[in-house]
C-alpha cells in the first residue's frame, strides 16, 4: 500500500506532465482551484519549454494542511499525461514516487525508473467518454478522489466555463466521475491512499501568482501607464494590466521595441503619469540608455525585470537570478537608483507599491527584480491589507518662475509637470542648470552630480532591511535574495538547526545599513544564489567589504529546490 504523504512529510507533491497545447494547463487549474476550495493550502510551479505545441512541460502542485510555498524535487505522485517525460522529471523519481500512468500512452517509458508504477487505462477511459481531451480530467478526478474533495467543486469548475454547452459539460462531469471511481478503487485495492485528515487552514485565502502580486502592487502604487514589448517571463504583467486597463483607467501600449518602451514611459513620466515598464534580460539591456536618461532628467520610472537565463536569448522560458549586476550598473554615467527583489507574494505587492512612491519621491528609476519561477508560481495567501497604503505623488504646482532642478540639501528638487501651474517645466538629458537648460559650466556640473548623488543618502536610510528568519543568536547565516526565500526557509527548517538563520534581501540596492552587522555576527555565511558568479555576494563585498566565500550557486535554468539547498547547507555547515 502506498500512503501519501510519505515519511515525515506533511504535504503531498504532485507533478503533472505533458505536451504543450494538450490540456495539461486545464488539469492544473482544475486541481489547484479544487484543492484550494476544499480547504487545502496549495503551491504550484510550472516549468515549460520555449515552444507552443509538443515537447513536455510539468507543473508541481504541493498540497498541505499548512501553508506551503516552495519548490521541492520530491515527487510523491507523478501524472505523466503524455509520453516523452523529460530527464529533469525522470531524475526526480525515486522509490517513494507513485506514478499514475497509462501504458498505452507511455509504453515502457517510465518502467526503468525506481518509481512505483500504477497502470491506469486513461486513454481508453477518455475515449469512452468522448475523446482524448478527457484524459486529463479523468486523471484530475482520480487525484480529487484520492484527496477526498467534494465532487461538486470540480463540477463547479466546468459549470463556470461551459455554462451554455450542455454536452461538453456533461462529458466533463462524467470524466470527473470516472476519475473518482478509479481513485476509489485504488484505495479499495490498497494501491494508493492519500491521508491528509482534518480541514486545512486555507479558508479566506486567495491563490495568486507572482505576476498577479506584482501587477496588483503596481495598481495599488498608482500605476497608470504601462508600456512593454512582449518578453517571457515578463509579459504576464503586461497582459494583466491590459486586461484590467478599463477597470483601473490605465494606459497600456505594446511598443515596437524596448527602447520605445522606456522612452514612452519617460515621456509619460514627464507628463505626470506613473509609468511601469515590464521586460526581461535582453529587453532590459536595450533600455540601458533610457535608464541613464531617467538618471539625468530625474524622471521617475518603475521597471519590472522578470529574469531568465542569459546571456543573449539564453533559455527563454526558464529561470535565473543573473541580472542584478546589470540592473545595478546599467546606463552610462552615475546616478542613483533602487532595486527590490521580493521573495514572497506579499513582498511583491508591497514593494511594488513602494517602488512607485519611492520613484516619485526621489525622481529615480526603481527596479523590481523577479524571475520566471517567481512570476509563474502561485500559492494561497491572505488578501493584502491595503487600507494604510497611500499614493504619494510628490508633485508641486508651478509658479511663473518655477525651476525644475533647484539644488537642495537632500538632492530632491520639487517636481512639477507641464500644465500644472503657471510655470514651465524644462527637462534635459545634458548637464543643465536649474531651469533644465544645457550649460557647460564646470562648477555647475560638479554641483549637479553631487545633488543627484546626494539622494543616495535618503535612499540608503529608507532601504528595506533584510529579513532575519530564525534565531536572533545565530552561528551560521544563510544569505538569499529574491525568489529563493521560501525555498531557503523550508530547507533550513528541514535541516533543523537552531544555530542557523536566514538573511533574506528583498531590497538589494542600496543595502540597508544594518547589513554588515548581520554578516559580521555570523561565524559562517553561505550565500544561495540563482547565478554562477554570486552577484549579491559581489555587491555585498563591494558595499561592505564582507566576503562570502561559501556559496550555493544554481544556474541550470530551473529553480533551485529545497533539497538542493539542504544538500548545499549540509556540506557547508559544520
Amino acid at each position: 500500500m502506498n500512503v501519501l504523504p510519505r515519511g515525515d512529510f506533511r504535504d503531498v507533491s504532485l507533478v503533472l506532465c505533458g505536451a504543450a497545447g494538450q490540456g495539461v494547463q486545464t488539469v492544473e487549474e482544475l486541481l489547484v482551484q479544487s484543492l484550494h476550495k476544499a480547504g487545502f493550502h496549495v503551491f504550484a510551479s510550472r516549468e515549460y519549454m520555449s515552444r507552443i505545441r509538443g515537447g513536455n512541460n510539468s507543473t508541481e502542485i504541493r498540497v498541505s494542511r499548512d501553508p506551503v510555498n516552495a519548490f521541492v524535487d520530491r515527487i510523491d505522485l507523478l501524472l505523466p499525461l503524455n509520453q516523452g517525460v523529460r530527464e529533469n522529471i525522470r531524475e526526480r523519481i525515486n522509490e517513494g514516487t507513485v506514478i499514475l500512468g497509462d501504458k498505452e500512452e507511455l509504453g515502457e517509458e517510465l518502467s526503468d525508473t525506481s518509481g512505483r508504477f500504477i497502470d491506469v487505462d486513461l486513454l481508453q477511459k477518455g475515449r469512452d467518454i468522448g475523446g482524448k481531451v478527457y484524459v486529463g480530467v479523468v486523471a484530475a478526478g482520480i487525484v480529487a478522489g484520492l484527496f477526498g474533495i467534494d465532487k461538486s467543486v470540480l463540477y463547479g469548475f466546468f459549470e463556470e466555463r461551459f455554462a451554455d454547452r450542455e454536452e461538453i459539460l456533461r462529458k466533463n462531469r462524467r470524466a470527473v466521475d470516472v476519475g473518482y471511481e478509479t481513485g476509489g478503487r485504488m484505495k479499495e485495492e490498497s494501491l494508493l491512499e492519500v491521508f491528509l485528515p482534518g480541514k486545512g487552514s486555507a479558508k479566506g485565502t486567495v491563490v495568486l501568482t507572482g505576476t498577479d502580486a506584482i501587477s496588483l502592487g503596481a495598481v495599488a502604487g498608482g500605476c497608470d501607464f504601462v508600456t512593454s514589448y512582449p518578453m517571457s517571463p515578463a509579459t504576464g504583467v503586461l497582459t494583466f494590466m491590459a486586461e484590467h486597463s478599463h477597470r483601473f483607467g490605465i494606459a497600456v501600449e505594446q511598443a515596437e521595441d524596448e527602447i520605445a518602451v522606456i522612452n514612452l514611459a519617460l515621456g509619460a513620466s514627464y507628463g505626470g503619469a506613473r509609468p511601469l515598464a515590464t521586460t526581461s534580460g535582453g529587453g532590459l539591456a536595450l533600455m540601458s540608455e533610457g535608464v541613464s536618461l531617467s538618471g539625468a532628467t530625474e524622471l521617475p520610472v518603475v521597471i519590472h525585470v522578470g529574469q531568465r537565463p542569459g546571456p543573449a536569448t539564453g533559455m527563454a522560458t526558464r529561470t535565473e537570478q543573473a541580472d542584478l549586476d546589470l540592473v545595478l550598473h546599467m546606463g552610462h554615467g552615475e546616478f542613483p537608483r533602487a532595486i527590490f527583489a521580493p521573495g514572497t507574494l506579499e513582498e511583491a505587492f508591497y514593494l511594488c507599491h513602494r517602488a512607485f512612491n519611492l520613484a516619485a519621491k526621489y525622481q529615480i528609476p526603481v527596479f523590481i527584480l523577479t524571475d520566471q519561477y517567481f512570476l509563474d508560481s502561485y500559492y494561497d495567501i491572505h488578501p493584502f491589507e491595503i487600507g494604510h497604503l497611500s499614493i504619494e505623488k510628490h508633485l508641486v504646482e508651478s509658479t511663473v518662475d518655477y525651476q525644475r532642478y533647484v539644488i537642495t540639501e537632500d538632492g530632491i528638487s520639487p517636481r512639477s509637470v507641464p500644465g500644472y501651474g503657471k510655470g514651465m517645466v524644462g527637462t534635459d538629458s545634458h548637464e543643465h542648470d536649474a531651469d533644465g537648460h544645457v550649460q557647460e559650466d564646470f562648477h555647475l556640473r560638479k554641483a549637479m552630480v553631487e545633488k543627484r548623488l546626494r539622494k543616495m543618502r535618503g535612499l540608503r536610510q529608507e532601504a528595506v532591511p533584510p529579513t532575519l528568519i530564525g534565531p536572533e543568536e545565530y552561528e551560521n547565516l544563510v544569505v538569499a535574495w529574491g525568489s529563493t526565500r521560501h525555498i531557503v526557509e523550508e530547507a533550513l527548517e528541514r535541516v533543523g538547526r537552531d544555530d542557523t538563520a536566514v538573511l533574506h534581501f528583498a531590497q538589494v540596492y542600496p543595502l540597508s545599513e544594518d547589513t554588515e552587522g548581520y554578516l559580521r555576527k555570523a561565524r559562517t555565511v553561505v550565500a544561495v544564489e540563482g547565478n554562477a558568479t554570486g552577484q549579491l555576494a559581489g555587491v555585498i563585498r563591494r558595499e561592505t567589504g564582507f566576503e562570502i566565500t561559501e556559496r550555493i550557486l544554481h544556474y541550470t535554468g530551473l529553480q533551485i529546490s529545497v533539497e538542493s539547498v539542504i544538500d548545499g547547507l549540509r556540506q557547508r555547515l559544520s
Partner: protein, 286 residues
C-alpha cells in the same frame, strides 16, 4: 499673440550664423503665436543634434531627451496629458537614423503630435558625416568614397505607413513653413513636417541656393487626399515638391484609443486611484 512671447532671454544661441535652423525657429514661434497658444501650454520635445537644441533657444515646456528618441517621449507625454500641444523636433539623423524605428511605428500609432524634422542631409553636431538623407556621392571624412546608400525617403515612408499628414517645407521660406506648421499642429493625429534646412558649416552641396533652385511649391490644384498622387510626389527628386503632400482627417489618435480615456478626459496627473478599488478587486478573487 506677439510671437516674441516665445523668445527666451539671455540665451547664447549655439547655431552657426546663417544656419537654416534660425528660420525654422522663427516659423515655429510665429505659428504657435498665431494659433494663440501660450508657451506653458506647449511642450517641445527634442533629441540630440543641432536642430534638437531648439528648446534651449525658445520658450515652452521642454524635454530635451536622447538622440533619436524624442517622438517616443512626445507620444508618452501626450498620452499622459492630451490637453497640451506637443511638438517633437529633431534633425534627419535623429529622427530617421537613430530614431528610424520610432518614426516607422509612431506613424502607425498616430498620437496627436507634430513632428518637425530639420532635414539638412548631414550630421551637423557631430561635424559633418552623412545622414540618412544625404545624396549619393556626398563625400565626408567618414564617407570618403562618397555616400552609396539610397537616400532615406521620409515622406514616402510616412505615407506608406499610413500617416495622415505628410508635408515638406524649406526653411528659406519662413511664411510658408509657418503656415504648414500651423496646419500640422491643427491636424488631429501625427503630422510630419520635413523641412529642408541648409547646414552652412557641413553641407556644401545642399545650400540655401541649391534648395531654392531644387524645390517648387505644389500648386493649388494639387489634391493632398489622393494617396497615389502623393506617393508619386513623394518620389520626386530635385526639384522636390514643397507643401502638404498628403492629408486625410478623421483617424482616431493614439490617446483616444487608450483605455484610460475611454470615459474620462482628465490628464493622468490629476487623477486619484482609490485603494478601495484595488481591495475590492482582490477580494473578488477569493
Amino acid at each position: 499673440m506677439d510671437w516674441k512671447i516665445y523668445d527666451l532671454e539671455d540665451i547664447d544661441n549655439q547655431w552657426c550664423p546663417g544656419c537654416g535652423d534660425f528660420q525654422i525657429m522663427e516659423a515655429l514661434k510665429k505659428a504657435l503665436a498665431e494659433l494663440e497658444l501660450a508657451p506653458n501650454q506647449v511642450v517641445l520635445h527634442s533629441g540630440i543634434g543641432q536642430a534638437a537644441k531648439m528648446p534651449h533657444f525658445m520658450k515652452g515646456n521642454f524635454f530635451n531627451g536622447l538622440h533619436g528618441r524624442s517622438i517616443s517621449n512626445a507620444t508618452g507625454m501626450k498620452a499622459a496629458n492630451p490637453e497640451l500641444t506637443v511638438i517633437a523636433i529633431g534633425g534627419d539623423g535623429d529622427m530617421y537614423g537613430e530614431g528610424g524605428n520610432h518614426f516607422l511605428h509612431t506613424v502607425r500609432r498616430n498620437p496627436d503630435i507634430t513632428n518637425i524634422v530639420h532635414n539638412n542631409m548631414v550630421y551637423g553636431l557631430t561635424k559633418g558625416q552623412a545622414s540618412p538623407t544625404s545624396s549619393i556621392g556626398f563625400r565626408t571624412a567618414v564617407q570618403t568614397d562618397g555616400v552609396f546608400e539610397e537616400p532615406f525617403n521620409p515622406v514616402a515612408v510616412a505615407i506608406a505607413q499610413g500617416a495622415t499628414f505628410v508635408s515638406r517645407a524649406f526653411s528659406g521660406y519662413v511664411d510658408e513653413t509657418k503656415e504648414l506648421i500651423k496646419r500640422a499642429i491643427r491636424h488631429k493625429g501625427y503630422a510630419l513636417v520635413d523641412i529642408f534646412q541648409p547646414c552652412v558649416s557641413f553641407n556644401k552641396v545642399n545650400t540655401h541656393k541649391w534648395f531654392r533652385e531644387n524645390t517648387y511649391f505644389l500648386d493649388e490644384a494639387y489634391d493632398p487626399s489622393d494617396r497615389d498622387a502623393a506617393m508619386r510626389k513623394a518620389f520626386e527628386r530635385a526639384p522636390y515638391p514643397l507643401g502638404l503632400l498628403y492629408s486625410v482627417e478623421g483617424r482616431k489618435t493614439f490617446e483616444e484609443n487608450l483605455a484610460c480615456y475611454a470615459e474620462d478626459a482628465t490628464p493622468l496627473y490629476l487623477r486619484e486611484r482609490k485603494t478601495s478599488a484595488v481591495l475590492e478587486f482582490i477580494e473578488a478573487l477569493a
